[in-house]
Symmetry: C2
Subunit: 89 residues, 2 copies
């Protein structure tokens, strides 16, 4: 019998890990490349609704992994406006 | 009272939507740019575990949105190997 919480934690760790290289790259190069702020905003709204969904269903793996993803994408959103003028350099 | 399923469907639609521009761009330009196949693979494994988690908890919004994300990322993974030699053009 597999424990859903452990499965959710492993799943959340992997999907969270996969987001980090983009954030690190944007921060290191101070360049948002071809990121679209509209898409980041849609993603932040969607992820926030998943956090809400996690609270309604009382599912910690859903809450934590999506809250982490919100954090990463809020950072990307801030970077977008900090670095957008670096796009052509 | 908010229905969790409707919330999950809206959340899943938004997070799914936000993935499409990257896939469309890769297919249209036949160029994977700086995508990393290792990260796509980690993401596919993580998303597949979320689908499994959804089945264990019998949550359709989790199953559908993550299955869609698996599909998008399997396409990206295939595109990676089809187009990786176009990176320098």
């Amino acid at each position: 019998m597999i424990n859903e919480n452990i499965l959710g934690i492993v799943a959340g760790t992997l999907t969270s890990l996969s987001m980090l290289p983009q954030l690190i790259k944007v921060i290191r190069e101070k360049n948002v490349g071809e990121l679209s702020w509209v898409m980041i905003l849609i993603l932040i709204i969607g992820l926030s609704l998943w956090v809400w969904y996690g609270f309604l269903n009382d599912e910690l793996p859903i809450i934590f992994s999506n809250a982490f993803a919100v954090l990463v994408n809020v950072c990307l959103f801030i970077c977008y406006f900090l670095y957008k003028n670096n796009a052509d350099k």
